[in-house]
Symmetry: C2
Amino acid sequence: MRTFETARTDFEQIGPITVARWEQYRIGEDVMPFGAMWYTVPPGGSSARDCHPELELSIVLTGTAHVEIGDTITEVGAGNAFLLNSEEAHIIHNRTADQPVLIFSGYWMPLAGGGSAES
Amino acid sequence: MRTFETARTDFEQIGPITVARWEQYRIGEDVMPFGAMWYTVPPGGSSARDCHPELELSIVLTGTAHVEIGDTITEVGAGNAFLLNSEEAHIIHNRTADQPVLIFSGYWMPLAGGGSAES
């Protein structure tokens, strides 16, 4: 077993958010079938608009995320998850005054067969 | 995007723990490269000893898990994660009096190349 602790992980400031990519753990590409990261959105802050070919499963660990996709903003609270489709542009907002949003995110290229997260 | 809320998810009692397998979301096997579940360990409770060929990445969402592997018990608090190797027998304890342990778990068969989570 290996453990991964956010408090012992290097977070990098990227614009308004901090990101800790799991590459730093040197897990090896033949171990996990997806990439992973932690990221935080500070109170009152928002991530830059992001859009990428990878699908992305995000699990909200602390705080409440407001996920903006097109014209829709969806609230996702701590303990819940959201799955982004390939090339689905998204912005993560933290509308609280004092509670950081901490998210675990796993991401992977579309699988053969090309299913959609909406199916 | 799809969202997944623990409060709107069906949990099944399996011995001392409750388990919500993500199959109920009908995401499609061609969407995610791993299986997933939520599970809870009640205060003072422990999971049955579990051992399976899949590697398993677990993220502690609430409470503090004590993960027993062989003769070692490792504390993993909320916001942190642990990665179990293939065929690594494990028991999850909740030593608190009042705080349920809620865990998100993703699992997958060993990849070609056969890396170990310890590498």
